[in-house]
């Protein structure tokens, strides 16, 4: 079999050598606990503070606005539940969308079970939040709005600045899940008035298990965990020093390289998309009519099913994904495509290619050959079974 091709960068990415190098001393000689008063502690504390500063600087934030978490899910939970709990007495409502990551959807669900008022806004068939539906949903009772910046399944990019403005006009706070936006779109928290932003390390070459929540100065947050006073009490527990340092390095690199890398990836993605659409004229590319991040291609071919296609692709060495994988690894129909009112036969046939650092021209050329061939065979089979 030819070399395997990894087209699942939105699921996770390999740790970058620069990141690994930055982390290594903190697994070894510089192992101290940042809360300790002795030299080991001081050394760790200084390194952690530096990492926080560097990460903040890369995003246009202040160091004290960065709260390290275990990843994107914890950051989303902390923002959504933490902000709502802080404000629920005067503002019981929360506004979100049906195409959020499950870390936000489930947090919103939790708020509902705690007596919160939940309003879910409409999205267009291309996966863009409807501005008037959003404006109508935000009221004087709204504590927080949460809208994902770059959709993890179809790659559509929301106009976060405009949505934040609409939220602010009613005195509501605004959170965005920026996990897929980091390194893909320009993030400058000096000009973008969001109150909270979630990011995750392993999507940008840092390890799994580290993420961060940006909490703008003055934005309230009720901690989710109880313990020590680490991270200003927002996130008790001994800090993950090594990974925080690795994460800061990864974010710096992602921001530095963003323009060149997104241009390269966009060209590859567009080439793959064009080739697949040329060979499979009735294929549907989700989110195609909307602003879309450079790295995601979500395509459905009626008459096929994601589960079989993923198996067939994997056996040919091509890794990609579909819908949302459940804990067992089985595939459930995507809640995002369902919310976009995508017809059933397309929703069960969706395949997400997510390109990134490992992707080359040769990969795109090979998948542009292979995918249509697998599709043709799958359709021939389904033709046989359905008569």
């Amino acid at each position: 079999m030819p070399d395997p091709i990894y087209l699942d960068h939105s699921a996770t990415t390999p740790v970058r050598p620069e990141v690994l190098e930055a982390m290594l001393p903190f697994f070894g000689p510089r192992f101290g606990n940042p809360s300790s008063t002795h030299r080991w502690g001081r050394e760790a504390r200084v390194a952690l503070d530096e990492a926080r500063e560097r990460l903040a600087r890369a995003l246009g934030a202040h160091a004290d606005e960065i709260c390290f978490t275990s990843g994107g899910t914890e950051a989303d939970n902390l923002a959504v539940i933490g902000a709502w709990r802080a404000l629920r007495q005067s503002r019981p409502a929360i506004v979100s969308t049906p195409i959020e990551h499950k870390a936000v959807l489930a947090a919103v669900h939790e708020i509902e079970s705690e007596g919160g008022v939940v309003r879910v806004v409409d999205v267009s068939a291309d996966g863009i939040v409807d501005a008037s539906s959003f404006a109508a949903a935000v009221g004087d009772d709204t504590a927080l709005c949460s809208v994902m910046w770059v959709n993890n399944e179809i790659g559509t990019v929301q106009d976060i600045a405009a949505l934040t403005g609409a939220a602010r006009a009613r005195g509501a706070l605004f959170h965005t899940d920026g996990v897929q936006a980091l390194g893909k779109v320009a993030i400058d928290l000096r000009s973008l008035p969001v109150d909270y932003l979630s990011i995750s390390g392993h999507k940008v070459g840092a390890p799994k298990g580290i993420g961060a929540l940006f909490v703008r100065r003055g934005a309230p947050i009720t901690p989710m965990m109880y313990g020590g006073t680490q991270d200003r009490g927002r996130r008790p527990g001994t800090e993950n020093v090594a990974m925080s340092i690795g994460f800061a390095r990864a974010v710096e690199l992602a921001v530095e390289e963003r323009e060149a890398e997104t241009a390269r990836v966009r060209q590859l993605r567009d080439a793959l998309e064009a080739a697949l659409l040329a060979k499979i004229p009735d294929a549907v590319v989700h989110g195609r009519g909307a602003p879309r991040a450079a790295h995601i291609l979500n395509i459905s071919v009626p008459g096929t099913d994601s589960e079989s296609m993923l198996m067939a692709l994997d056996l040919q060495g091509v890794a990609c994904s579909a819908g949302s994988a459940c804990q067992s690894g089985s595939i459930d129909p995507s809640h995002v495509l369902t919310a976009l009112r995508v017809p059933h036969e397309q929703a069960v046939a969706s395949i997400r290619f997510s390109l990134g650092s490992l992707t080359t021209d040769a990969h795109v050329t090979r998948v542009a050959e292979l995918f249509p061939a697998l599709i043709a065979r799958a359709r021939k089979l389904s033709g046989l079974t359905t008569g």
Binding site: L310, M311, A312, Q327, S328, S330, L381
Partner: protein
């Protein structure tokens, strides 16, 4: 190298099946079928739980083969669980594993095999395929051919059952020898996978609601019609059952029939369980269809020997058999499987007889 798609439950049988196929030089691909989702409800269940999927994945990793999870929850709910509940509501005792093999498991396995260009499919059932025909497994204590009569012949022509020639201790030994410690000593799965605690009434109540007639009180009656007590729902009973019946008859009483029309559970002494004739429908033939007058070996439940019987009618998709010696507890909803020696000829679902005439009265 021929590719084979193996259905892997995470148990010892299918794990060894996969390992044997790897040894035989096949290009093996493992797949676990997710039939029901219990989440964290049932951490220790040997079948269908998340742990089982994880175990199957680990075994595949150890064998160096790919593993996939196939989501069959919807089809399983529709074709197996709904049918299970419907059958109980009709006063019958279904075997969901037969329905699953017939309508869900093998059908999807073959579809997925086609999708990945696998010529063969395989499972860990104790049965054998010899020259395209289905035979009993060599170990009489483990033989599972009874559950496989509903397969389509096309499936049989590409089916491998690698552990069918082993007995259970041998299978466990193979697992241990192959280093599959994870599964070598796993307990057998006993219950129905979607009836986690063995309480099928709970499943019926959840699907049909507690007010369904099958779960409402009704009379215990004797064959002559005399009412001798009240039960709390005929779906709780099955033909041959002894538990939960009224006493005071001077001899053990058994359920001899269930009559959903009047919600009656008919009870009687052991000899009333005996019957000579049997009717079956939903027939499927894995071999040449028998003819009226043929003598066959007929098995009417998983754990009982086959009995000699004669085909007395086969028309309009229904089969009638006359047993040479009376058999006990012919239960509507269970499977009838016909054998010639060890070979499975075919089978069907046992139907209610125009009243399975007790031998005493016949």
């Amino acid at each position: 190298m021929s590719r084979v798609l193996v259905a892997m439950s995470g148990g010892v049988d299918s794990s060894v099946a996969a390992a044997l196929l790897v040894e035989q030089g096949y290009d093996v691909v493992g797949a676990t079928m997710k039939l029901t989702c219990h989440g964290d409800e049932l951490p220790d269940r040997p079948c269908c739980s998340l742990d089982s999927v994880n175990d199957a994945r680990r075994v595949c990793d150890q064998l160096g083969i790919p593993h996939y999870v196939l989501n069959l929850e919807k089809a399983f709910g529709r074709d197996v669980v709904d049918d299970f509940v419907r059958e109980y509501a009709r006063g019958r005792t279904p075997i969901p594993c037969v329905r699953c093999n017939t309508f869900t498991k093998f059908r999807d396995l073959v579809t997925k095999a086609d999708a990945i260009e696998a010529r063969y499919v395989a499972t860990g059932h104790y049965a054998r395929v010899i020259d395209g025909r289905l035979h009993r497994g060599l170990d009489p204590a483990k033989d599972q051919s009874y559950f496989l009569w509903g397969l389509r012949r096309e499936v049989l022509s590409r089916l491998h059952l690698p552990v069918g020639a082993l007995n259970k201790p041998e299978t466990r030994q193979r697992a241990a020898a192959l280093g599959l410690e994870l599964v070598a000593n796993k307990p057998e799965s006993q219950d129905i996978c979607f009836v986690p605690d063995g309480d099928h009434v709970k499943v019926i109540a959840r699907r049909l609601g507690p007010d369904d007639p099958a779960l409402q009180p009704g009379p215990f009656v004797l064959a002559g019609g005399r009412v001798v007590g009240q039960h709390d729902g005929f779906a709780r009973f099955t033909v041959g059952q002894r538990r939960g019946l009224p006493g005071g008859f001077g001899e053990a009483m058994f359920v001899v029939a269930i009559e959903p029309e009047r919600r009656a559970v008919v009870i009687g002494p052991r000899q009333e369980l005996l019957g000579r004739t049997l009717f079956a429908a939903e027939l499927n033939w894995l071999d040449e269809e028998p003819r009226v007058g043929d003598t066959v070996l007929a098995q009417i439940r998983h754990r009982s020997p086959a009995s000699v019987a004669t085909v007395i009618d086969l028309s309009n998709g229904r089969l009638a058999l006359a047993f040479q010696e009376p058999v006990s507890a012919i239960s509507p909803g269970q499977s009838l499987v016909l054998y010639a020696g060890t070979r499975v000829i075919g089978g069907g679902i046992i139907d209610r007889s125009p009243r399975a005439l007790p031998v005493a009265a016949a």
